[in-house]
């Protein structure tokens, strides 16, 4: 559960707003500059991804 009102606030709450991350809400990409404008609603599925090893 979170008190965050926007995706930007959620990232700050998690301490990852400055990290090398990309975000998606309900399966749709949310660009970094749009995070502040994306209000969170009950039941939203948020994904926060960052660079990892890959083949």
């Amino acid at each position: 559960m979170t008190e965050a009102g926007s995706l930007e606030e959620l990232c700050r709450e998690l301490g990852i707003s400055e990290a090398k991350i990309a975000t998606a809400r309900n399966g749709d990409f949310v660009p970094a500059k749009a995070r502040a404008a994306v209000a969170l609603a009950e039941g939203d599925a948020i994904e926060v991804l960052s660079p990892r090893q890959g083949g």
């Binding site: 990290a19 990309a22 998606a24 990409f29 660009p31 994904e47 960052s50 890959g54």
Partner: protein
């Protein structure tokens, strides 16, 4: 990386992908290495100019892991090719590609849409659908595909300028399980850069693909899971270079009948019984 001198003074034999020229025909994955240091030394030994990477969930328990990995990769000085590994639908792959473009600051994407977790076979229908959408959005798509000619045609029609057919399922190391189909693909699309991606286990497999005229090899497990990944990276670099040189040099066609290499003319007659 060029280990061997060419027999002429032609321009360097570069691989050009979406207008970008790279000197190595080996593309290397960054997964499964025993340690970051062994990965770094393997990358150096391979001479690879393109490294594949992925996106995974950022954990608040290990905040900064992604940033640290990214710093490590950037220190190699290679171009990165983010993948959409693990995506099973076009929608997942499209969203992942957009996320990768922002994080990795590149419009290159190794597009994977997986049909089945046991075979990791590409879902070619989802692949074409995702390729069409991503090419429209300005991505430079490197599709991980089968060797099927009609799928290749559809991917090229979608806007892909490179194709990456499998040799065998990912991680199996079985080599070219359908060389006939790969030869057909090469023959049908002579101008398209074709990179064999997945299923290569031994340097000889890579050399075989290059001898068929493929333009490059994408590898991961075969290097990372070798007893000595750094040495194996060198072995693959040499095999790929050798296969490429052999292709350019022109390989003799096989014959059914023996044919002596030493001149027959001037052979001494030393056994009267055989001469008669």
């Amino acid at each position: 990386m060029n280990f061997f001198p060419r027999s002429d003074d032609k321009a360097p034999d570069m691989l050009t992908l979406y207008g970008e020229a790279v000197s190595s025909r080996l593309l290397l994955g960054t997964s499964l290495y025993p340690s970051p240091d062994i990965m770094r030394r393997s990358v150096e030994a391979s001479g690879a100019g393109i490294l594949t990477v992925s996106l995974r969930r950022e954990s608040s328990r290990d905040a900064g892991a992604g940033s640290r990995f990214w710093q490590l990769i950037k220190s190699f000085g290679a171009r990165v090719l983010p993948n959409t590994a693990g995506c099973h639908t076009a929608r997942e792959a499209i969203t992942t590609a957009h996320m990768a473009r922002e994080v990795f600051e590149t419009d290159w994407v190794k597009l994977e849409v997986i049909a089945n977790d046991d075979t990791l076979q590409p879902d070619v229908f989802g692949l074409v659908e995702a390729a069409e959408a991503l090419c429209r959005d300005g991505f430079k798509v490197f599709p991980y595909c089968t060797e099927d000619l009609s799928v290749a045609e559809r991917l090229l029609g979608a806007g892909c300028q490179v194709l990456m057919p499998w040799a065998a399922p990912i991680g199996t190391g079985r080599g070219l399980i359908n060389p006939y189909a790969l030869r057909s693909l090469r023959a049908f699309f002579p101008e398209t850069p074709l990179i064999v991606d997945a299923g290569i286990g031994a340097p000889s497999h890579a050399a075989e693909a290059m001898e068929l005229g493929f333009d490059g090899i994408l590898l991961n497990t075969a290097v990372a899971k070798a007893r000595d990944p750094v040495a194996m990276a060198s072995a693959f670099a040499m095999a790929i270079e050798a296969g490429r040189l052999a292709y350019l040099a022109g390989i003799m066609p096989p014959r059914d009948m023996a044919s002596p290499s030493t001149p027959v003319a001037g052979l001494a007659f030393l056994d009267a019984a055989r001469a008669s």
